[in-house]
Subunit: 411 residues, 2 copies
Amino acid sequence: MGLVLGDFVSSISPYRSTVIVHPQTHRFTEALVLQSGLSLPAYELVYETYGTLNAQRSNAVLICHALNASHHVAGVYTDAQGQIKPRSEGWWDNMIGPGKPLDTNRFFVIGVNNLGSCFGSTGPTHINPATGDAWGADFPVVTVEDWVNAQARLLDALGITQLAAVMGGSLGGMQTLSWTLQYPKRVRHAVVVASAPNLTAENIAFNEVARRAIVTDPDFHEGHYLRVHTKPKRGLRIARMIGHITYLSDDVMNEKFGRRLRALETAVADRDVAALERLAYHYTTTGVEFEIESYLRYQGDKFSEYFDANTYLLITRALDYFDPARAHQGHLAQALSVAQARFLVISFTTDWRFSPARSREIVRALLHNQRPVSYAEIDAPHGHDAFLLDDPRYLAAVRAYFDHTVAPEVL
Amino acid sequence: MGLVLGDFVSSISPYRSTVIVHPQTHRFTEALVLQSGLSLPAYELVYETYGTLNAQRSNAVLICHALNASHHVAGVYTDAQGQIKPRSEGWWDNMIGPGKPLDTNRFFVIGVNNLGSCFGSTGPTHINPATGDAWGADFPVVTVEDWVNAQARLLDALGITQLAAVMGGSLGGMQTLSWTLQYPKRVRHAVVVASAPNLTAENIAFNEVARRAIVTDPDFHEGHYLRVHTKPKRGLRIARMIGHITYLSDDVMNEKFGRRLRALETAVADRDVAALERLAYHYTTTGVEFEIESYLRYQGDKFSEYFDANTYLLITRALDYFDPARAHQGHLAQALSVAQARFLVISFTTDWRFSPARSREIVRALLHNQRPVSYAEIDAPHGHDAFLLDDPRYLAAVRAYFDHTVAPEVL
């Protein structure tokens, strides 16, 4: 069953972990029928676990990841010499771990990498058994519902019938919501953070521009770039830059970067007074002038090195397609009427990608069905990114919910 | 002097013109020293005029254009046979013309194309006299201040010492503001619409992504694509798609497109009931699924055919650089203290590119200097695009200002 725990080493900071974790892989040999009608034959899911599954198997919490995240939710990795790898903390390590808001001393937490990803689970960079070559653009389109079905099979393999909770932010929140609709009896609690019941036209528009940048990159080769040993890095850079703009609020961008010139930052760093004195615009259309440009280029370059372009297309499309109300002529309350979970919904005031208004739509639809739902609208300055950050009110809301609402029922 | 008027033909609608106009060109042989320190040797400005300059030369109104607009502000063009060209109305034809809010029966209106443009005035597609080849990327960086200086020289050539008003929206509003600072005695009134005293980090970020898309297009050839008879259309498409998203409000995008599927639109247009019945997602990452995608692709394709990439870089950079408070340690009120004009400032509630908050900064800085300023914040749903549209309250505010405040002083 492979329920190996992370070794607890010590707790240096409330937000940084030294719990050492190891990813595991489960191979599924039964084909998964996808929403598109296509099937994925055999496939693998990579996952990690934190904490201990109790004897009643009632304390499991599944974490669903967003666009460019993975199964590596919490803890750190070690190298071959057993040394902790620097900056190897999981993406929600401030939220999940011993004594943290989702306390792995009490809960058994599972992080799973979704199908179509480039971080381990079967995806476009893996071999298509039908051709012996990488899937590339032939990897089937996967949806939020497909991911939830695959996650449910992993829980079957782990012997977990019912989850204490499912939790996710952004696209992870969509999976969380979908869990309560696809497997209502298997979810006691759903924690939906910075999410939405579907994408707006503007959200789809940003995704589409990012996809066009990738697809029209001459190195895309109709999605079979691996065959020619290249990748569409130009397109990935643009996609990531667009993403970063939409993750941050206008306010936090002004606070972090404002109109500060890159040359000013460099001069200050070098304590170069002469440079500061002659500081002026460089009058360039292609060079870096402002600090924000340097930041975006750096983020774009970094992303283009490690992320797979076909995965980016698949994941943005999964976002576009998610729309549980669609099968109910747009009536979200009707769509959510099958849910049996109790909900915690959280939004952030400056999140313009998944605005509080979209979270309130979910809350209203749940209330319409007399579902128990707690809603926290956090007045945070950081935009959509806030769901990954250390806002104390946000972390306290999650902690209180797990401590006082989830734990008493399942522990 | 070439003050030929548009022939007034007839007024079919209050918003659509049949005033026939002809662009004119003025060649300047004295070099223009630019803010960057570089000089532009001889150059041409293309312009149009509407209405009649009165004997006192006191009724001239200069219109400054925004990113992808031109000197063709109002009226229509005719073909070689004298027939009116369809859809040849100027970009502010709903605002300017006989009997319109800015009434050319009373005012003499001048539209001028800026340096660096691709619509007639000297720009990157023109011949660099030093090389005999197109300027391309060697065209000097031009700023809002440079444009205003060039416009002032055109007014000199037209024999106009003082303008009744300068008016512009967006980047045109920045030029208008700059006019009141560079030539305070030459401007009686300034009408600044949907503008800002500088760009925010988010604005610069969007511009930078658009520029990176262009510059990293393999067809960019370091800005000398004309030499190899190509143009970076991929990059221009992406740039335009990003632009379009930021011109519209989230609300109007939802209203116009929402999550409607492209296939649905086609089926309805074809009255194809069978197609409607089997309507479903196509599960594609590269094809068009939603109506908004089709709209953005169309806009991107169209733009990439007619717009010059180097011009796009220059104009977005002029936006980035504009910052009159910069020479005053960020104190806008201090920067605006030299202005002598009376102001009308207009913003639109759903404009997130140049939000009302930015217009209010201008208003506050003017009030701090005891400048007379009228401010209208129009509750319009259309986002930044609203400044080009037919909102009756907006058009009425402009009409009232010109009729009751500008006209009595100058007519």
